[in-house]
């Protein structure tokens, strides 16, 4: 099995993922929905695993070298983590999201199958690359959802919105609408909203912790040190600390819901800084995480 077989595997898996995605919005019985969504997504996963195994045997090396191969793993891990998280937490939106992300990577691979020759610098050629990036993609995505939830809570907390507040709530309305369809909870008050936010933050925080520890273990193999206060590392740590503050403050004064919502929404600013804001900071001039070309 080689890349010429890829369209077959990709289209059949995509069809299953799209079906599962559409199904999540379909008003059928919850139990049936869970079973069908699982069945479709797991079948897509199996198709991918068969393809990767075949490719591995054909290439006589783990398919981890080119960007196209890396994207293949992205799709597989996203589907896998989607299934695990969905079955643990039963959030329909989460499976919808991971399926959608996996589809994006599959279609990028279909559109650019000739990705053998794209350059990948030696420092990135490591088996840590895929897990490190995948858990970060997921944690950022999940914490992004927790941010949306916090904005929703904040808008509800201030009933007398002025023009700006109203514009913000109108912009976000379609997203809240989708989340409402996909989640069972009808979020009436701040306590319920925060309960949902907590669960989401725990998932995102777990991935964030995995991301930073995988990064440390990789750095030891690549650069000889697990922690060097590189600006990107520092901001990743900061993000971790800020969500740590949120998690701890939530266990204390349970009734300070507005404060908690504010902290959660501001935490996302740190996450964004760590993600791409750090490239624009004065400290970033020597960062090892800037992979732009020097020419």
């Amino acid at each position: 099995m080689n890349w010429t077989n890829f369209p077959l595997a990709a289209y059949s898996a995509s069809a299953l993922l799209i079906l599962a995605f559409g199904l999540l919005f379909f008003p059928i019985k919850r139990k049936l929905k869970v079973t069908l969504a699982n069945l479709l997504t797991i079948t897509a996963l199996i198709i991918f695993i068969i393809f990767i195994t075949g490719l591995w045997i054909h290439l006589e090396r783990p398919p981890l070298r080119t960007k196209g191969e890396t994207r293949l793993w992205y799709s597989v891990f996203l589907i896998l983590l989607g299934i695990i998280t969905f079955n643990r937490w039963k959030y329909f939106w989460f499976l919808a999201f991971t399926n959608l992300m996996a589809l994006v990577f599959i279609f990028v691979n279909l559109a650019h199958p000739e990705t053998y020759n794209k350059t990948l610098m030696p420092a990135l050629q490591s088996y840590w690359f895929v897990p490190h990036v995948i858990v970060y993609i997921l944690s950022y995505a999940v914490l992004g959802v927790s941010w949306l939830v916090s904005i929703k809570g904040l808008i509800k907390s201030y009933p007398n919105l002025n023009v700006f507040g109203k514009i913000i709530s109108i912009i976000f309305y379609p997203i809240f609408f989708i989340i409402d369809i996909l989640s069972d909870e009808k979020n009436e008050d701040n306590h319920k909203i925060l309960k949902m936010a907590d669960d989401i933050v725990y998932i995102g925080f777990a991935f964030l912790t995995l991301g930073i520890t995988f990064g440390a273990l990789w750095a030891k193999e690549a650069w000889g040190n697990y922690w060097t206060w590189d600006p990107k590392e520092t901001w990743a740590l900061l993000t971790l600390l800020v969500y740590l503050i949120y998690i701890h403050i939530r266990t204390h004064h349970k009734n300070r819901t507005k404060l908690h919502l504010w902290i959660l929404s501001i935490s996302f600013v740190f996450l964004l800084s760590a993600w791409f804001g750090v490239n624009y900071m004065p400290s970033a001039k020597n960062s090892v995480h800037t992979y732009s070309q020097q020419e």
Partner: protein, 456 residues
């Protein structure tokens, strides 16, 4: 909008916002009287910042943690101190507070603030000391070795330590995940800092055709290190990607991407559109020599100092050839050759990027044993307790580099830090699976405790 900002300010900066009578009474509580809360934490943090700056200004030097065995005994006795204090003095106001959420939150805030400074302010390279520089003296230019970060570290570590003991005593199985993540983080932070003084690291050059040596000179500081084994470079290997072609605007020196917006990597018979022109690769040699000084012809060879060369044709909008000839990116021995399109633009070949580089190394171990191995980026090798890494090479000479830059590191505390990292990872899985830190039962217990406190 204004009301939101106002409320945000109120929420964020005045923690003790008046809510009900009980909290009003709390507000009246004098600092450091009664049960310590967030206010005390922020005051302590402020004092630590001040202290860090003052001590930094007086000592003027980066701090170094003591070396073995002192760092080991400090680490163990500090941990024991926390355990003993918690065991016997946990009713003391300070101990109670240090193991509480407010201390955890405020110490994390302080740690986050100092880390944020580190993440924003450009830092000096390690080992560099700026004389008579105010910002350097107070630690802002070398935060990772400053008193400021050291003290916030200490506060964070102490609060984390007490929290860990509090979670562990009395032990309940359902708190296992929480315990793992707290203990893991405590071990990482303690061993990471305490062990940093025992870690040795040097970068050195292994030259082609040089005799085996165990005395290496540091590439950056000229300090000498003695390794317990001799090293010899057998062969340095590098494989490169094919070079890229770009269009350059003469006036600005801007590199323009092709129409497809993807880098144009040279392959024989490939063509690509740039603005109004199309460039086609007629012939491509990855390594070649020019056969004359005007670069009118190239011949393929693998000899020393050979370089990439491509014969190209440039077409205009009407598909007629306007230019043709050889181009090359040049190297340390040969100058580059571009293809001019008109007075404003020319095509240029970029230096090829390294795909993979590795050093085949022979190590002469004590006792007349030898070992041969290959070092690559991302695949280091441990010899006699030293971990060897492929770091770089003579980048100016590229493919024909005359040396390999190797890093050798020794970190005896690494297993301790790693055990902490694995505990933390286990804790992360627990957080993922279980979610909430405190179950409903514990929440109720906490409520009852709060009520009892109020009644007292």
């Amino acid at each position: 909008m204004f009301s939101i900002i106002k409320d945000f300010l109120v929420c964020f900066f005045i923690f003790a916002k008046k809510r009900n009578v009980v909290e009003k009474e709390k507000l009246k509580r004098k600092l450091f009287h009664g049960t310590w809360q967030y206010k005390e934490g922020f005051v302590i943090s402020g004092l630590l910042i001040l202290l860090g700056i003052i001590v930094g200004f007086i000592t003027k030097n980066p701090i170094n943690f003591p070396e073995f065995p002192l760092n080991l005994s400090i680490s163990i006795s500090y941990s024991l101190l926390i355990i003993v204090l918690y065991k016997f003095e946990r009713e003391q106001k300070i101990i109670k507070w240090l193991s509480s959420i407010p201390a955890a939150v405020t110490s994390t805030v302080l740690f986050a603030v100092t880390s944020a400074l580190l993440g924003i302010i450009p830092q000096t390279d390690p080992g560099v000391i700026l004389k008579n520089n105010f910002w350097f003296d107070i630690g802002f230019k070398h935060l990772s070795t400053s008193w400021l970060l050291g003290l916030s570290y200490l506060f964070f570590l102490t609060s984390l330590g007490f929290a860990t003991v509090k979670i562990a005593y009395p032990f309940k199985f359902k708190r296992l995940g929480t315990l793992l993540s707290h203990l893991g983080l405590y071990i990482i932070i303690l061993a990471g800092v305490a062990g940093s003084s025992d870690a040795k690291r040097t970068y050195f050059v292994l030259n082609n055709d040089a005799a085996p040596t165990n005395i290496v000179k540091d590439f950056f500081s000229d300090k000498q290190y003695k390794l317990p084994f001799k090293l010899q470079l057998v062969k340095f290997d590098i494989s490169e990607y094919n070079p890229k072609i770009v269009l350059v605007e003469k006036k600005t020196n801007n590199l323009l991407m092709p129409e497809s917006n993807q880098h144009f990597i040279i392959h024989k018979n490939d063509e690509e559109k740039f603005l109004d022109w199309k460039i086609k690769i007629k012939t491509f040699y990855k390594y070649a020599y020019p056969s004359d000084s005007l670069y009118q012809e190239f011949t393929s060879t693998n000899a020393f100092a050979s370089l990439p060369a491509a014969e190209v044709e440039v077409y205009d909008k009407n598909d007629s050839i306007i230019k043709s000839g050889w181009m090359t990116c040049g190297n340390f021995a040969w100058s580059r050759k571009n293809i001019d399109v008109n007075n404003n633009y020319y095509f240029a070949m970029l230096q090829p990027e390294a795909k993979e580089f590795s050093s085949h190394v022979k190590a002469f171990l004590p006792g007349e044993n030898t070992e041969e191995f290959s070092l690559k980026v991302n695949s280091p090798k441990v010899v006699e307790g030293w971990k060897l890494y492929q770091t770089s090479y003579n980048e100016q000479m590229g493919k024909w580099s005359n040396y390999s830059l190797i890093e050798a590191g020794k970190d005896p505390w690494l297993p301790v830090v790693y055990s902490g990292i694995f505990l933390l990872i286990a804790g992360a899985f627990y957080i993922f699976w279980i979610g909430s830190f405190s179950s409903k039962k514990e929440e109720e217990e906490e409520k009852n405790n709060n009520l009892n406190e109020k009644n007292q």
